[in-house]
């Protein structure tokens, strides 16, 4: 450049540099978004995000596993003993305090995502012959997390209770999950 720019000219230059730089940065950031957002669940994946389940074939004391959003959902027809056990626990002593009543819509039906909140393994306990842990619920074989008859974390590394998905009773024997 020929010679030092005068004071006013210098300020003008600075302004142009900063404005151009800011515009380029903002433009790049905006252009980056499609490249990031393309990795989020696509429209067809989101469209498949709800299912209906018929509960009439599940006797008391039995459980079924259905697949929702690629994950297992545990649906357990709880016995009166299990319900009583889940309700009498002192909520204050729990790692992730939650009353049993906040986890069920009807006490006899426990519906929750069967994915351990530690690192995503599937806990055992759906079958009678499975280990149920010390709390009459579910036991994760990966790192030893134990859940009670309300699916709440009681022992082991998992930080949270088994997730209760959004669901609604369509009629007495059918629910829609999602």
């Amino acid at each position: 450049m020929a010679g030092e720019p005068s004071g006013a000219d210098k300020n003008r230059r600075d302004f142009l540099y900063i404005a151009t730089g800011a515009m380029a940065t903002a433009g790049t950031a905006v252009a980056l978004w499609p490249f990031i957002h393309q990795m989020n669940p696509a429209a067809d994946v989101l469209a498949l995000a709800s299912i209906e389940v018929d509960l009439s074939g599940v006797p008391v004391g039995q459980a079924i596993t259905v697949r929702w959003r690629g994950k297992p959902v545990f649906i357990r027809h709880r016995t009166p003993d299990e319900i009583a056990e889940a309700q009498k626990v002192d909520v204050g002593t729990l790692r992730d305090p939650q009353a049993d009543s906040a986890r069920v819509q009807k006490p006899e039906w426990l519906v929750m995502v069967g994915v351990c909140t530690h690192l995503g393994c599937i806990p055992l306990g759906q079958k009678d012959t499975d280990p149920h842990g010390e709390f009459d619920g579910w036991f994760c074989p990966c790192h030893g997390s134990q859940y009670d008859s309300s699916g709440r974390i009681r022992k082991g590394p998992a930080p949270q209770n088994l997730e209760v998905p959004q669901y609604a009773f369509i009629d007495a024997n059918r629910i829609r999950i999602g």
Partner: protein, 412 residues
């Protein structure tokens, strides 16, 4: 190369001269790996592992490119396509066994390369950036190996993908959103498999680019050596070719013998049999373990009885390596002249092996406290012992030059 090659320049006559005038590639090769690249004259076989890592990378890329011609990255067909490679594709079994065992060989030589650097202080001034670039390559290797392991879509593939991607759910507030973003779904499935395949194909070329930058930084200050003192003149040097090209080729021969023994005689010895069971999203295998080369880090993850804490410890085990050039307060590079550090190095090696053994076993009984002690020692070594011993220890006298040390050894 032709007789017209000068020790320092390129060819000037003929076809090679014509090319050299337009693209000085011959003089570049000569000054990079030829007569004109000086290396310390006392390099031991511990200095073979860099070139072996380069060879391992090339083998992985070549076998990977041809495997990708047959592999199908969908949840429905991935497992079957790998079995088809094993049974029906001509020499598919050989290519896949080379690729799977090649990954183990790659990690083996890179671990030896890293431990060599730790023993001889290769990370110290002026090679700190060289060390950093090497660590970036190592982290890229871990990512690439994990992604490749997912592709066969067996039980271990699937659950490794589940557990590893779930590590990010430990991040407060945004963890779940990040994991959903990784997955492109609400669980591990097709979307994740396809993006991992895409990245598994990309990252080796990023590693290759980083390896070239690694060599660029290496050539700036040349190789360290077992004495850890600088080259002071021609009397301390040998030309890379033919001395170290020959030495590297000899090492390569040994490497290929071991590699062939693995591939042809015990190709499944380092892998988990349960990965020959197709992925089942509704059933977790009773015991999940990573491949052998990631076991120490897995042990560190499990040593901390808290989800976020475990993830931080595992990441910290890698991050702390970046600080090593400054954590080591000793001015002396080579452990050969460091009477206390020399032993601490070997204790650290044992610690790393113990972590590997702990990582391979289910977390129960004595493995829990042993894993926790070994994890604590891992960090103690870097964060406490390295800085403190560097100050306290009085190193042995260093030789005047590489040449005098080599000649004195020759006389004895």
């Amino acid at each position: 190369m032709s007789g017209s090659t000068q020790p320092s320049g390129g060819p000037t006559k003929g076809v090679l001269g014509w090319i050299e005038f337009r693209l000085p590639i011959f003089s570049f090769l000569n000054s990079s790996v030829g007569y004109a690249y000086p290396a310390p004259k006392n390099l031991s076989y511990w200095w073979n592992f860099g070139s072996l890592a380069g060879v391992a990378l090339v083998i992985q890329i070549l076998t990977g490119i041809v495997l990708a011609m047959h592999y199908i990255p969908t949840a429905a067909e991935a497992f079957g396509s790998v079995e088809r490679i094993m049974r029906d594709v001509n020499y598919g079994w050989l290519l896949r066994y080379m690729h799977a065992n090649g990954a183990s060989m790659f990690f083996a030589v890179v671990y030896l390369h890293i431990f060599r650097g730790l023993y001889y202080g290769s990370y110290k001034y002026p090679r700190e950036l060289l060390w950093w670039i090497g660590l970036v390559i190592f982290i890229l290797m871990i990512a690439t190996a994990f992604m490749g392991y997912v592709l066969p879509w067996g039980q271990m593939s699937f659950w490794a993908a589940t557990v590893i991607t779930n590590l990010f759910s430990a991040i407060p507030l945004v963890g779940t959103a990040i994991v959903t973003w990784f997955w492109g779904d609400f669980s591990v499935g097709d979307a994740l498999l396809r993006r991992l395949f895409s990245l598994h194909y990309l990252l080796p070329f990023v590693i290759a680019a980083m390896a070239i930058i690694h060599l660029w930084a290496l050539h700036q200050h040349k190789s360290n050596n077992p004495l850890g003192i600088d080259m002071k003149g021609p009397q301390d040097q040998l030309s890379f070719h033919p001395y170290y090209t020959a030495k590297d080729l000899f090492g390569l021969g040994i490497y290929l013998i071991i590699f062939a023994a693995l591939v042809f005689y015990v190709p499944n010895s380092l892998s988990e049999p349960v990965n020959y069971v197709p992925a089942n999203p509704l059933q977790t295998p009773p015991h999940i373990v990573p491949e052998w080369y990631l076991l120490p880090f897995y042990a560190i993850l499990r040593a901390v009885p808290d989800k976020l804490g475990g993830v931080i410890a595992m990441a910290g085990a890698l991050v702390v390596l970046f600080a090593v050039p400054w954590l080591d307060t000793s001015k002396v590079r080579s452990a050969r002249f460091r009477p206390i550090f020399k032993w601490l190095f070997w204790v650290f090696v044992v610690d790393a092996i113990v972590l590997g053994i702990v990582g391979a076993h289910p977390p129960g009984g004595a493995y829990v406290p042993i894993g926790q002690i070994a994890t604590a020692y891992y960090f103690l070594h870097f964060l406490v012992l390295m800085p403190v011993i560097g100050k306290l220890e009085s190193p042995l006298p260093l030789p005047d030059s590489i040449a005098t040390a080599v000649l004195a050894k020759g006389k004895r």
